[in-house]
Symmetry: C2
Subunit: 239 residues, 2 copies
């Protein structure tokens, strides 16, 4: 990290901002959405394999965003894509009779995913030292509601609807860095996804891989930081 | 506010978000920038009429943003415009010898304007009930630094560099509403400037005029709320 001719410095001193993937990295979408669906099922006397539904719902997001990112489909936000994918998979789970309101209620679950247990204490520490923001494929409103509901101390919200494209599109990282207003090498992308981190790295950012049981099992490239969880990352960053 | 055929409701119950003008409405730019310049002058043994310089600097902002808003000049953010305007007025105050670093230091003052005394207590109360965001001609980074420095409890940051135009351009309010994700009539624009509020009103938003000694002396149209300060507004909104 030290420039040629200068003595090595504490690499943390130059960092200004941390950007976080949210679904899977900061929040536990699998448990949150499964529970919300289970609660919904209990209230409506509907039985289904809610966890399998949740996992399939999530798995459909990557193919759904691809045509948007590749300009083969006009901009459509996460709210819209979540609804389309839910509509597509309900018949398989014997739930094609769900009303429009019920479907919207389930889609709204993505505004309420709960942080992993380490997230709040770690982000509270990191916020004293760095600018913190989500950089997520979710909408600004989904991310705002999630933060407001659970107390995530973001300084600003960077959702894909600001950029009208999805990670890992290079121009999203570039535009995010321009808004954050720091040189790329003073900004860390924190994610449990290799694809996200490799794109951030190509944009000149620093990178932190986080192990999360629901996400990528291992780092597949060299990152500046590798952490067990966000508390571990906070410690590595001296926060 | 009640729809035809429905009994009148508490108009506050439907509100979801409050968007705030910042310079003049939430923060006291005049006192903050004057003091910063005075401190700078004392440190550098330079004397000048710092308050007059501050007032002239601020007064130049409207003519500076106009060509950008009217697409006669490519996008240039507040950081850049503040610097250009400072460069233009320094000779008049006998300060043309200031170095580049000194000028950047003064420009950085706009990342540190201090809230009016009522702002923090009022925003703390309002944040429990509503989504709060600045909607300002400042940059995302200026607004983030200002908030982080003084503890303004914004949920998200809406700076002009997201929209690449300036208030009161209609498309800025429309794009801001799309990101906030609430119907326009559930969102209040709070400002001490008639121009801002009238544009917000045209975008379908609710409006709150705030009296601030450095800004527009009086409301020049009918607004949903008129308040002495932000604590008064919080009370009117039941927060």
């Amino acid at each position: 990290m030290s420039s040629a001719g200068h003595p090595p410095q504490d690499p943390n001193t130059a960092l200004e901002a941390l950007l976080f993937d949210v679904f899977g990295t900061v929040t536990d979408w699998k448990r949150s959405i499964t529970r919300r669906c289970e609660r919904f099922g209990a209230e409506h006397k509907l039985s289904a394999d809610w966890e399998a539904l949740t996992v399939e719902w999530r798995s459909r997001y990557k193919p759904a965003i691809e045509p948007v990112r590749e300009n083969k489909r006009p901009w459509a936000d996460f709210e819209q894509l979540h609804r389309e994918e839910l509509d597509a998979l309900l018949p398989k789970f014997g739930l094609d009779a769900l009303s429009n309101d019920d479907r919207q209620l389930l889609v709204h679950g993505w505004h309420r995913t709960e942080p992993w247990p380490d997230a709040l204490p770690a982000l509270g520490r990191l916020a004293k030292r760095y600018i913190l923001a989500p950089l997520s494929n979710g909408t600004v409103r989904q991310l705002t509601d999630t933060a407001k509901h659970s107390g995530l101390p973001w300084d600003l919200i960077l959702g894909a609807d600001i950029f009208r494209t999805y990670k890992p599109a290079p121009r999203l990282y570039e535009a995010a860095l321009a808004l954050v207003g720091s040189p790329a090498d003073r900004v860390v992308m924190v994610a449990a996804h290799n694809e996200d981190l490799q794109a951030a790295k190509r944009a000149g950012m620093r990178t932190a891989f986080l192990y999360r049981e629901t996400e990528d099992p291992d780092p597949e490239a060299e990152y500046d930081y590798t952490a067990r969880d966000l508390v571990d990352l906070a410690e590595q960053l001296g926060a």
